[in-house]
Amino acid sequence: MRNTIVSIIAILLGLIAGGLLMLAIGSNPIEGYNYLLQGALINIERIGNTLATATPLIFTGLAVAFAFRTGLFNIGAAGQMLAGGLAATAIALTFEFSRPVMLILMILGGLLAGALFALIPGILKARFNVHEVVSTIMMNWIAYWSVYYIVPGYFKGPSLETESQKLPDEYTLRAPFLSDMFDGSYINYGIFLGIIAVIIIAFIIDKTTLGFELKAVGFNRHAAEYAGMRVNRNIILSMLISGALAGLGGVALYTGNASSMQIGLLPSQGYDGIAVALLGANNPIGVFFAAILFGILYSGTGFMNAMTEIPPELANTIIAIIIYFAATSVLIHRIIDKVKRSKANRPEHKKGEA
């Protein structure tokens, strides 16, 4: 409850700051935000696109949040996405199965590849105490250059040098009924995978002994060790799950929203996942809504640009400001504490039982 309020305040502050910037460049913030919302939500196609934009962010946000619960900072979601996307793409371009079997294989392949890419930093952390921030960032570049080598080498498209072949339609997460329902949007099964992931992760964190252990390790690894929990195993496990989630994000991005892999790019969703997790207070449900919000912002920017005189560079700055504020929720927590304290100090506001 309190986290929700904090996040909402963070967003509002972000919107105000962004609005001030619009005023400063002589644009009307109300008009700007209006077009931003319209761009994201005005018709069913745009709603579909917004949800699809949010989908990879749900995964990366969950990945970062889950690792964070165990006291780990997984900055390598981008690389894990690439690994997951590449695995799924490679499977789809190499084998032939019926659509359901193929989709399941692609999803599993992406999940495993992402997990594998996070496993290495996990082991390095557990065994040699190598800080995961360093090792996951390095894994990002390993993924980046692996894609750079493998895609043109083995899966090159007939016309595009920097992209893999396009996946056949039946081997993507796109579904005709969804596209029709959303009036031609590129929304796909990824959003359902995302919702399922949110539910499963929330369940693991809150209801299982595994979640109990992982959180204990995250809050206080000394106490977890004292209580007989295997701290190193938990670190590795947490990274595995986190990486698997990011890998699924890659599957959603490269075989759902897109239908080919591009070389020379680290997906920005990897780092955005950190902001999503922060805004979502590392809570799966919170992450879901934070991702949707980011989806709205990212989808709506273009239309705001097209309809107003706000230059694209500034539009991106405005979005960045909103995100920046959203990520400052820690500060807001403190301010609320302070307000509460000064309130509580005034006798007339005394409550019965705290």
């Binding site: 209006n34 040098e161 309130k343």
Partner: protein
């Protein structure tokens, strides 16, 4: 207490926003552009990865549109997509279309699949794709009647730059730094090598290119790597580097500037646009010998102009080459002697007339 009041104020502002927005819907266009532009053609552009001032595709295309805005009175707008997937591009094309921009220019081959879909989806809009042709990623290109696809003869641009470089330096060693190993970049490279070879054979120059000095960095944005590559080449005795590599090239140019300032004599050859200004290290002296140009701005300006003249070559694939002055070196080359300029001009005329053939294939050239 304070917090509650604050929240109330906020919700009021938001509510007001929603109300106002309802009336604001149709006024959106009125605010922008001059009165005389109200009925003017609205020309939109979606940028590729990189900024609008990338000294390359985005900038070239945009400058052509700006020229059209100035001379032909069209309204212009560019949008920057959030990513580089087909979906990202399509989204921005949709935004332009929904905002009334129905003449849309897209720079770069990455737009091929997006334009392929857009030309069907938005039949009453017109598309120009530069350096690519619409396709579905599998089959042969389909240029619909509302679309024009434009290519450049990069090998010819590289050739002319190679001839000019050889003529000016007479003897020495040249190198090449590419961005990604993709056809447009490769063609620059191969053309450049052929140009140097042509000058060596026919015009008495002695410029060598070694295999190890022809490299592709692998990206278009790693400035530091460009600087390093250039430093290595200069250390190995290379006198001039042709960099067709976006930001990587910027790094190489920076390295050259540093060396020239410390008294060494090294040169760079620019790419895509006239990069003379980027190479200035002191006053108006630049390390850019010349540039292998693709006149992208001509292309985008041309297309707008022909559209207004009801002469839009919809469904066609156009090649901009020496024959229609679509490629070449800049008009002004302060670092080239008059003699060199004269000789290059002669070579260019032969190229135009078809007397010289430049191959767009690797053949037995490096990389």
């Amino acid at each position: 207490m304070k917090k509650r009041r604050f929240g109330l104020a906020l919700s009021l502002v938001l509510a007001a926003g929603t109300l106002l927005s309802a009336c604001g819907k149709d006024e959106g266009n009125g605010a922008e552009g001059g009165k005389d532009k109200k009925d003017a053609l609205k020309v939109g552009m979606v940028t590729d990865a990189g900024t609008i001032d990338d000294k390359s595709f985005n900038q070239g295309t945009w400058e052509g549109i700006l020229q059209a805005s100035k001379e032909l009175g069209v309204q212009e707008k560019y949008l920057k997509p959030g990513g580089t997937t087909e979906a990202d591009y399509l989204k921005e094309i949709g935004n332009l279309y929904d905002a009334g921009y129905k003449f849309i220019v897209t720079p770069g081959f990455k737009f091929e699949t997006a334009v392929f879909q857009a030309q069907d989806k938005y039949k009453d809009a017109n598309f120009v794709i530069i350096d690519g042709s619409p396709n579905d990623g599998k089959n042969d290109p389909v240029v619909a009647d509302n679309t024009v696809s434009i290519f450049f003869a990069e090998h010819q641009a590289g050739f002319v730059a190679g001839v000019a470089t050889a003529l000016e330096l007479k003897e020495g060693e040249a190198g090449f730094i590419g961005g990604m190993e993709i056809p447009p970049v490769q063609k620059f490279n191969w053309g450049f090598q052929q140009g140097v070879a042509y000058a060596n054979e026919n015009l008495g120059t002695k410029i060598t290119i070694k295999k190890e000095n022809v490299v592709y960095q692998g990206s278009f944005d790693n400035v530091a790597a460009g600087q390093q590559l250039a430093a290595q080449m200069f250390d190995k005795g290379v006198n001039v580097i042709f960099a067709a590599a976006g930001g990587v090239g910027v790094g190489a140019i920076n390295e050259a500037k540093t060396r020239v300032k410390s008294g060494k004599e090294v040169w760079m050859v620019g790419v895509d646009v006239d990069q003379y200004a980027d190479g200035i290290y002191e006053g108006d002296k630049s390390v850019i010998l010349t540039s292998a140009m693709k006149k992208i701005d001509h292309a985008s300006f041309d297309m707008v102009k022909r559209f207004l003249n009801k002469d839009f070559p919809g469904g066609e694939t156009l090649i901009y080459d020496a024959a229609n002055d679509g490629v070449g070196i800049p008009e002004e080359n302060p670092n080239l002697s008059d003699e060199t300029v004269k000789q290059v001009k002669e070579v260019y005329e032969k190229l135009k007339a078809g007397e010289i053939e430049v191959s767009a294939e690797q053949g037995d050239l490096f990389k």
